[in-house]
């Protein structure tokens, strides 16, 4: 199963003040906060880690048919960033999810799967918000945020 999450960085900046006292502590563990504060682009890393957690959570909640708001239980590991892409994994309960992300100055997009091979096979389409009736195209995973719509096909 595949999960995906897109973050519109402009929208995130408008909606969320991550500098607010206590904010990061509710979402990120010590190691993740170290990744955030040790780089020159803290907000970029915040939304990258967030999209990793969200994409993994979407798979879990669909499979387990369970909803919860537990960002600290979703733990990001092995994050490697190259130019405008990143890979890593997220552990949650007893599951391990592999993630692949792409980003530029406008958005961050992450796909997650329990199978690494699956990430290689997917087709990703990122467009403006609902410009067409995307449901007819039967995407395996859908994410929208701000001005962006991300569709993933298997």
């Amino acid at each position: 199963m595949i999960g995906n999450d897109i973050v519109d960085l402009l929208q995130a900046e408008i909606d969320s003040n991550w500098k607010r006292k206590g904010y990061l502590d509710k979402i990120f563990n010590t190691e993740e906060q170290f990744m955030i504060t040790s780089g020159i682009h803290p907000s970029m890393i915040i939304w990258l880690l967030w999209s990793m957690k969200e994409s993994a959570y979407k798979i879990y909640s669909r499979e387990a048919k369970l909803r919860e708001f537990a960002p600290l239980k979703l733990q990001c590991n092995n994050l490697i960033i190259h130019n405008n892409t990143a890979t890593g994994n997220v552990s949650y309960e007893n599951e391990l999810y592999y993630t692949e992300s792409v980003f530029d100055e406008h958005y961050i997009h992450t796909i997650a799967s329990t199978q690494l091979e699956e990430l290689e096979k997917v087709e990703i389409k990122i467009t403006g918000h609902a410009l067409f009736d995307y449901k007819k195209t039967k995407p395996a995973s859908v994410s929208h945020h701000g001005a962006y719509l991300a569709l993933v096909y298997l």
């Binding site: 995130a12 969320s16 006292k21 206590g22 919860e68 537990a70």
Partner: protein, 84 residues
């Protein structure tokens, strides 16, 4: 604090982050923060921090996990106020 007062203090917090402003008008105990009010999941953290400030309580991670509806929020606030 009775339930009505609690909801009255909770509602403005939720309203701030609700993207579906029409759904705000019909807030009740069964209202779901994400499904009904379309609160962005990143803003759920703000709801929790605002609730902590408003009621001067601390919401632990386990409580936060289930704080997805008005009803759950009320239960958690009542519980934390009781043990304060």
């Amino acid at each position: 604090m009775d339930r009505a007062e609690l909801i009255a203090r909770l509602t403005p917090i939720i309203t701030t982050y609700a993207q579906d402003k029409d759904a705000v008008a019909s807030i009740n105990e069964n209202t779901d923060f994400i499904k009904d009010l379309k609160i962005n999941s990143a803003n759920l953290v703000d709801v929790i921090l605002d609730v902590e400030e408003e009621f001067d309580i601390e919401i632990d991670n386990l409580s936060m996990e289930r704080m997805l509806t008005v009803n759950a929020a009320i239960e958690i606030i009542e519980d934390k106020l009781r043990t304060k």
